[in-house]
Symmetry: C2
Subunit: 407 residues, 2 copies
């Protein structure tokens, strides 16, 4: 398996386009379209927030009931959430416009919106945008990049990843894009992500891969512990690689799982490191937990603690806050035997041994914490399970961005 450049247009038979539809922003692209030249097996996972945006309600029904889909239209600026029946109607109008322009069935068009909650989607502009998108559809790397840029809100960098592997003489590609910087604490999916692949695989196995993987990738990141109303991960597999369709968990399946999880984990980590106002990626690994569920809960408790996040911003080895966050997580463990390490750029330092401070050097700790990717490792000494969660520091800029996001 190797990483290649590109995103949603990397796999065979996928095209993308972006346009400025003036949904809310001015002077930038704010709509994107991703299209498979042939019907593709479709899978997806969506937010568990009880308040579900109109596009989430629409997509869930399609992923549940349809084997194939062929396009997804996305907009930034307005989330089309808390908009009731009017929002559902606007969403369907958008999907219908895509179906008409591409001459494909309405039920093969997914939708995704991200931005301010509660505002109405300007349907006329969206429909005009779709008319502009379709003629621009292209399978170039540039088209994929433009789509990834069009769905950004407070993101500071666009998020793409693609990998390739060989199997039985076929080159199989998996590529994806995502967005998300605030209101990021995915619960069953990330803010918005589209993954495309040219592998031939059954719908059931595809959905199983997507469903299983999300608990190790997007569901392990958090920027602000706020689970969005719009979280959506949509996956298209169009079979254009030419392999015999995968219907059992054979070697090709294993290779695909590895490639797919590389794409999702890479996108997830970029999202955490580009959290609103973040200056660094903060990773926490729990080792020797009694169960995987314990390890997940413990690692997430650390990366979501505001006190830990501000200490990480200040390059301050205030390890008591990490131990405190482990302690209130709800997981039973013996704090008196815990070891704690910090690590970056190949340097590792033990701060805590058996629940108490070692005589570590504060200078060395500060140096390790000053890197752009910092990891904390807690050894619980209770079993054999492990988990890793990704977050970011909490900074002045987070407050700045969110004290005045709407205007």
């Amino acid at each position: 398996m190797q990483q290649i450049s590109g995103g949603v247009t990397a796999a065979k038979g996928f095209k993308a386009a972006a346009t400025a539809a003036h949904i809310k922003y001015e002077g930038r692209d704010d709509m994107a379209l991703v299209y498979s030249c042939v019907p593709a097996k479709v899978a997806g996972v969506f937010t568990k927030n009880i308040v579900k945006a109109a596009p989430v309600q629409w997509d869930k029904a399609i992923v549940k009931n349809q084997e194939f889909a062929q396009a997804v239209v996305l907009n930034s600026g307005i989330a089309n959430a808390c908009t009731s029946k009017k929002g559902l109607a606007a969403n369907e109008t958008m999907a219908q416009a895509v179906a008409d322009e591409l001459s494909i069935p309405l039920q093969s068009v997914l939708t995704a919106s991200t931005g301010v909650i509660g505002m109405s989607l300007p349907v006329d502009r969206a429909v005009k945008g779709i008319s502009a998108l379709v003629p621009q559809l292209s399978d170039t790397e540039e088209a994929g990049l433009k789509a990834a840029e069009a769905i950004m809100t407070t993101d500071t960098i666009s998020k793409q990843c693609a990998v390739q592997f060989e199997w039985e003489g076929h080159t199989i590609t998996v590529g994806g894009m995502s967005k998300g910087s605030g209101m990021i604490h995915p619960d069953m999916a990330t803010m918005l992500a589209v993954v495309t692949t040219d592998i031939a695989i059954s719908k059931e196995l595809l959905q199983e891969v997507v469903r299983t993987d999300v608990d190790y990738s997007f569901n392990m990141i958090s920027v602000d512990r706020d689970t969005s109303t719009n979280d959506s991960l949509m996956v298209f597999a169009n079979g254009e690689a030419g392999n015999a369709e995968i219907t059992t968990k054979n070697e090709g399946y294993e290779k695909f799982v590895e490639a797919y999880s590389t794409v999702t984990r890479t996108l997830a980590k970029i999202m955490a490191s580009d959290g609103e106002g973040a200056t660094k990626l903060f990773e926490t690994t729990i080792i020797h937990a009694k169960s995987h569920a314990d390890a997940v809960t413990l690692s997430k408790s650390v990366i979501t603690s505001n006190l830990v996040k501000t200490a990480i911003y200040g390059n301050d080895a205030n390890w008591g806050r990490i131990i405190c966050a482990l302690g209130y997580s709800g997981v039973e463990f013996d704090p008196e035997i815990v070891d704690l390490y910090i690590e970056s750029e190949g340097n590792k330092l033990k701060l805590v041994e058996n629940g108490m401070a070692t005589d570590y050097s504060e200078d060395e700790a500060t140096k390790i914490l000053s890197a752009s990717h910092v990891t904390a490792i807690a050894d619980i000494k209770a079993g054999i399970e492990t988990a890793t969660a990704w977050g970011c520091d909490l900074t002045y800029d987070y407050v700045k961005i969110n004290g005045d996001y709407r205007s």
Copy 2:
């Protein structure tokens, strides 16, 4: 019942003192002692964090096993948490010094520490501090105030409250002090609080009052969703008011509950409004919930959301974030029938009706949100239960304080 000035020395037979023991801070008082002239019924609740500071472990045993206690010694600067056996020994030395100086049993001395986790308590300084505290013990209002000031860490104001009521010819007083500004998300108690009362009441009824009330007072506030290792609420009832001891839920009991809950709620609200970096108190009331537990979960989900807290800081009526926080709380409800109001200084504005925006005036909303005490009210329309939680906004200063707290 009427509010009076003062705190822990307001009730008859209670004395307090403060001193600068140089535990960690320089140039300010950092130790306090509260003393009852006669043995007092003792009750308390403590943190549920698995990582429990040495004084918490000490106090829990006393509250469980002893009917009476007579003193509590408190220090700020160092939390004496994550200090293992050495910390327990230091704590006991401190308690023993108090017992010796006051000629009271060791088992009637409670302890409390607050400050940095993981640092060792300088026992010699603490013992010297205790020698300085005892001769200064005084029942004046000033002595109570000095004690409240000595236990402050990042607090910007000292926190006291006292009330009085008459019953069967006796004047009964309840007074208290607390501290807490960061790592505030109490789970069974607040950071540190001491309540003194001269009522005569049985230990069982006292503990029941304390235990029941905390879920409506200290456990309903949050500054940063971080539950401390040191949360402690300690209550002393010394019977000096001269009333016949309360052993049943009679009229005197009801009056005491009202007075006690006034003190705890007042202290809790001051703590929330003095949250680290906070510019305002942010209250959320849920009405018409299906159950009280639902109302509690929903109200806490709103006041702990970083996105809501930053919007409140920015005086931005970004109600979508409030609805979103209700949605991911885990409580089942119908978002399409929810109404949402904001209120301050007697002005009330409906932002959301049946899940969608009303045509409210943004100017009026901004004006309401600009007050120093802002309330959000969500009508869930699912039942008859209600709950109120108190928090604060998330500001640049929170990041500033916590990016560099240790130094």
